[in-house]
Subunit: 141 residues, 2 copies
DNA sequence: TCAATTTTAATAAATATTATCAAAAAATAA
DNA sequence: TTATTTTTTGATAATATTTATTAAAATTGA
C-alpha cells in the first residue's frame, strides 16, 4: 500500500494555477498509484471512496489536466485512451494478451537524429507484443 | 489523379477470403488515395460517389479489414483514429498545427535490440511537432 | 470573514459506435 | 445459366461515450 504524498500532488496543481480540490487530488492519486488508467477504470475506483463524484467531473478534470501538461494521454490500439502522470520520456509495452501496460526506458536519440530539435514536440512509442507472464502461461499449455 | 488498380484491391480481399463488394473496393481505393483517413473523412468522400452507402457499412468494413490485417489503425492524440493500408513499418510525423500526417521511413532496429523477436508483434512510433510548411508560415508572421 | 472566481454534480444534449435483421448481392455448385 | 448457400448491405434502433449547461458549493486571496 503506497503512501500518497498529497503535498506533492497539490504542488502539481498549484504550479498550473488549478484549484486544489479533493476530486482532483483523488484522481491524481489513483493515476499515480495505478500508473495508467482510462476513464472507466478511474470511475470504478473513485466510486469506492467518492460514490457521489460525477462522471462529468472526471472527464472535465482529465481534459483540463491534459491541457495543462499534468497528464499524458496514451492512445492504444483496441483499448480506451489511458492517462498517466507526465514524466520523462518512456515508451510503452502493451501486452496484446492481458492488456497490461509497462513503462520502458528506451533511448530514442537514435531515431531523432535526423530531426530538427525545434520541430519535435513529443514522441509516442508503443511496442505491442506478449509479456513475459503471458509467454510463460502459453508454454505451459 | 491517381489511377486505381482495382484488380490489386480485389486480390487483397480475396487473400483474406472477404467478399469483393463495390463498397469495400471504394473504401480501399479512398484510403489508398488519401493515405490516412478517419471514419468521418471516409463518409464525406464516399457520399460524393455512393450517397446511399450506410455509415454502418463503413464502420463494419473498417473493423473487418483491421481484424484481417488489411488496414492499420493509427491512434493519434487529439484526433480521431486514422486508418491506412497495412504496409512495411514506418513511423508517423503528426503536425500539431495543421494536423497533417506524414509517413516516415525510420530504422527502428536500434530500439528493438533488447527485445526478444518473438515477443514483439508490432510497433507504433509517432512523432508530434510542427511540419516544414507550418514552420515557414510562422516565420512570416 | 467576505467576495470573486472556479469547480462540482446532475442531467440534458450531442457524438460516436455497435447491434439487429430483412433484403440484396456475391460466390459456388449444379 | 440458374439455383443455392453464404455473406454483405442499408436502415435504423440501441448503446456507449463525451461534451455542454447551470445552479449550488467550494476554493482562494484579501
Amino acid at each position: 500500500m503506497e503512501v500518497i504524498d498529497y503535498a506533492y500532488l497539490e504542488s502539481i496543481l498549484n504550479k498550473k494555477n488549478l484549484k486544489v480540490t479533493p476530486q482532483r487530488l483523488h484522481i491524481l492519486s489513483l493515476i499515480k498509484q495505478f500508473g495508467h488508467m482510462d476513464i472507466d477504470e478511474l470511475y470504478l475506483q473513485i466510486k469506492k471512496n467518492y460514490p457521489y463524484m460525477s462522471l462529468a467531473t472526471i472527464y472535465k478534470n482529465i481534459s483540463v489536466m491534459v491541457e495543462n501538461g499534468i497528464l499524458n494521454e496514451i492512445k492504444i490500439a483496441q483499448q480506451k485512451t489511458k492517462y498517466e502522470l507526465l514524466a520523462d520520456f518512456h515508451a510503452h509495452f502493451i501486452c496484446t494478451n492481458c492488456k497490461k501496460i509497462e513503462d520502458l526506458d528506451i533511448d530514442i536519440s537514435c531515431i531523432l537524429k535526423g530531426f530538427d530539435q525545434a520541430s519535435v514536440q513529443s514522441v509516442q512509442l508503443q511496442i505491442y507484443g506478449i509479456c513475459n507472464a503471458c509467454q510463460k502461461k502459453k508454454n505451459l499449455i
